[in-house]
């Protein structure tokens, strides 16, 4: 997307590496920001077609779209990959994705949308700024020509065994704690969701308990955030 910088000599490269190593994560983030084309779109230094904007995010038309109406939803803050995005912000981005998807369905008269995120170059991520792609879709457009296929059932348990421990740490050990509910008849499911909605909405009425909950939540988040940092560096390394 951007012109490749001129090749560095071996000496320059080593010097740069040394410099990078001595920088704090904050400084590195600053550097990335300065060189990020999407941060410049957000600040208005590079012109764009802004379809939606609020305090924390911006949606623009992709200048090299997969198809007409392809939108990029960008957090205004510079994050390289999704795990770096704070939970509240990610929730907001998904909420806006829902709005934008509805927008595409209605305005462009398409029969579907893909919400697509790529984390890491192996996943096809090309820019260093985390973003959500919103692709308007029509049958037969062959945009993402992928098909589900059946895999060996023995693999499923393997995936579970490999991932579950880490996931339960990340999610605060809430895994499979409600087995008894899974056997309830289908007819009770709507009530279940409503009950949950009630639960989640009650705190809004009660300010004191809301505050308490937010406190608890932020503590929870701190734990979650502090845990995976070591590996995040590794993931960020993938860009080099």
């Amino acid at each position: 997307m951007v012109d490749a910088p001129p090749e560095l000599t071996e000496e320059q490269r080593r010097e740069l590496e040394k410099k990078l190593k001595s920088m704090t994560p904050d400084q590195i983030q600053q550097l990335q920001k300065q060189q990020c084309i999407f941060c410049q779109i957000i600040s208005g230094k590079i012109p764009s077609k802004k379809v939606y904007e609020d305090h924390s995010c911006l949606a623009v038309l992709d200048i090299n779209p997969a198809t007409r109406g392809h939108l990029l939803l960008l957090p205004k803050e510079h994050y390289a990959i999704m795990p770096q995005v704070p939970q509240k912000e990610l929730e907001h981005l998904f909420s806006i994705s829902k709005l934008l998807s509805r927008l595409q369905l209605r305005a462009l008269r398409v029969s579907g949308t893909n919400i697509f995120i790529a984390n890491g170059p192996a996943a096809g991520q090309r820019a260093q700024h985390f973003m959500i792609h919103l692709l308007p879709r029509k049958e037969g457009d062959h945009l993402l020509p992928v098909k589900d296929k059946l895999i060996d059932p023995s693999l499923l348990e393997k995936v579970k065994d490999t991932v579950q421990d880490r996931l339960s740490v990340l999610l605060g050990k809430r895994i499979s704690s409600r087995k008894e509910d899974s056997t309830e008849p289908a007819s009770s499911k709507p009530e279940l969701v409503e009950k949950e909605m009630k639960k989640q909405q009650k705190p809004k009425k009660n300010r004191a308990s809301k505050k308490r909950e937010i406190k608890e939540e932020s503590e929870e988040q701190k734990e979650e955030n502090s845990d995976p940092t070591a590996s995040l560096d590794e993931i960020a390394e993938l860009f080099k």
Binding site: I63, N64, A66, R68, G69, M82, Q87, L90, F94, S95, L103, Q104, L105, R106, A107, L108, V110, S111, G112, T113, N114, I115, F116, I117, A118, N119, P121, A122, A123, R137, E139, D141, L144, V146, D148, K149, L150, I151, D152, L156, V159, K160, V163, D165, R166, S168, L170, L171, R174, S176, R178, K179, D181, S182, T183, K189, V193, K195, K198, P228
Partner: protein
């Protein structure tokens, strides 16, 4: 019946459940784009994104993020894709909203890339105006009383469950309509 994700919830599936809470399930399914793929979905049978209540959507997003981190760290993935297939035209093959977390390796043969296009300036402009106008219309609607969205998201759900159901029925109709419009 006929919904692969509801079958998982009912325990009538070969899929393996990774996590479960009051509203949401995380499962490893056997019909996937690539092994290691993990699906996050609401327990409630919600066909499309536009019908997912905000709080549940946010929760699914947070779970998908955690799954993505776990897949990076423990499955040795070099990258992850998150994909929502929303509507038939988008390749949705299960009538139940879900977020797919897809672990990626270099040269894993999975093609999730598209050809970047260069559109004519006036076509970009037209698309831009269409989207902006629709956004203005949608936001205008939001200020009117009892739009479907507000009911789904706010407390009224509890006191006016009937109205919510009506609105839910209207929305898939709209989607179906948009499908029928395709020549």
């Amino acid at each position: 019946m006929g919904c692969e994700l509801c079958d998982i919830l009912a325990g009538e599936s070969r899929a393996v459940i990774l996590y479960e809470d009051d509203t949401t399930l995380i499962a490893v399914r056997d019909n996937v784009l690539t092994p290691g793929q993990i699906t996050i979905f609401p327990k409630h049978h919600i066909p499309i994104l536009e019908m997912v209540p905000e709080n549940i959507l946010g929760h699914c997003a947070a779970l998908a993020n955690a799954v993505s981190v776990a897949v990076f760290e423990n499955l040795g993935a070099k990258g992850t894709n998150l994909l929502i297939r929303n509507g038939l035209g988008a390749g949705q093959n299960i009538p139940h909203f879900g977020i797919e977390v897809i672990p990626r390796q270099e040269n894993d043969g999975l093609n999730l890339q598209w050809e970047p296009k260069q559109l004519m300036e006036d076509e970009m402009d037209r698309t831009f105006v269409l989207l902006k106008d629709e956004l203005a219309a949608l936001q205008g609607q939001k200020e009117k009383p009892t739009p479907a969205e507000k009911i789904a998201e706010q407390k009224e759900v509890v006191s006016e469950p009937k109205e919510e159901k009506i609105n839910e029925k209207e929305k898939p109709n709209y989607l179906l309509k948009s499908v029928k419009k395709i020549p």
